[in-house]
Amino acid sequence: MIEEKLYFEDLEIGRAVESPGRTLTEPDAVRYIGLTGEWEEWTPDEGGARQVPNLLTLCASGGLGWRVPQPPLAILAFMGLEWQFLQPLRIGDTVRNRSWTLAKRAVKDGGVVVEQREILNQRGEVVQSGRLTFLVARHPES
């Protein structure tokens, strides 16, 4: 049996994929704060609603990145990101990813891939966006 993966050569520049949605709940936020010890953002706004910690949304996007209609990307390492937090999210908001390959270049140990990613809320507004850089394996037969 062959485990299907998406390799460096398989990535097409500009082809967009979307993930399913995920609702960010109070249990998600409480677990995130317990894990990280980051209590500062956990204060209600003027209306009494609590915000989702910004980095929790980014972390959830990391998981959603695997739930796209294509085989899993053969990532060797996550090299970095440039990221903007554009809008706060409230508990109960639902996010999904839209992403595409912006650039790729072959290197000695594989290929460097730059992914442009947007996190959208349930109204289709971009709430966070940026660029993620990965080291991706080349096809084993190449």
């Binding site: 995920r22 998600d28 677990r31 995130y32 894990l35 990280t36 010890g37 980051e38 209590w39 500062e40 953002e41 003027e46 910004n54 980095l55 929790l56 980014l58 972390c59 959830a60 990391g62 998981g63 959603l64 990145g65 695997w66 739930r67 899993p72 990532i75 060797l76 390492a77 996550f78 090299m79 970095g80 990101l81 440039e82 990221w83 903007q84 937090f85 706060p88 140990d109 940026g130």
Partner: protein
């Protein structure tokens, strides 16, 4: 806007370029990685398949890069009085080396820029951060931009 002077938070005009902070250490455990996989939904083999990772460049499972980013964010809050932060604007971040199970990390941070904005009641602050392991190696580093309130006039 709520009165922010009572809670000890530091405002834009009180924060100086060049201020430095060093957090306590935290040992990253297998439990942290398992919990983070469940929370984020990122079960990639890099973090969850001990057998596969034996033949990888790392030789064993490694922490998610974003787990390291999240832990350092929490660690730094234990090293400094909080800023009167209105918004987390963005970050530029590099994952330079792996965080392995049992590694102990701490974060060193420095205020490197203050910038006026179009609104007079706030300003932007840039912090440079390095995540350092028990051998003194920088495993992650980058910059974070915050919008911080000024004191009400």
């Amino acid at each position: 806007m709520a009165d922010q002077t009572q809670d000890g938070r530091r405002h834009f005009e009180e924060i100086e370029v060049g201020e430095e902070y060093l957090s306590p250490g935290r040992t990253v455990t297998e439990a942290d990685i398992v919990i983070f996989a469940g929370l984020s939904g990122d079960y990639n083999v890099l973090h969850t398949d001990a057998e596969f990772m034996k033949s990888s460049i790392f030789g064993e499972r490694i922490a998610h890069g974003l787990l390291g980013l999240a832990i350092q964010s929490g660690l730094l809050t234990r090293a400094m009085r909080p800023f009167a932060t209105l918004a987390f604007l963005g970050l530029r971040w590099k994952f330079k080396g792996p965080i392995k199970i049992g590694d102990t990390i701490k974060v060193r941070a420095k205020v490197i820029a203050k910038r006026e904005t179009s609104k007079p009641d706030r300003g932007a602050i840039t912090l440079e951060r390095q995540v350092i392991n028990q051998r003194g190696e920088v495993v992650q580093e980058g910059e974070t931009d915050l919008m911080v309130a000024r004191r009400a006039l």
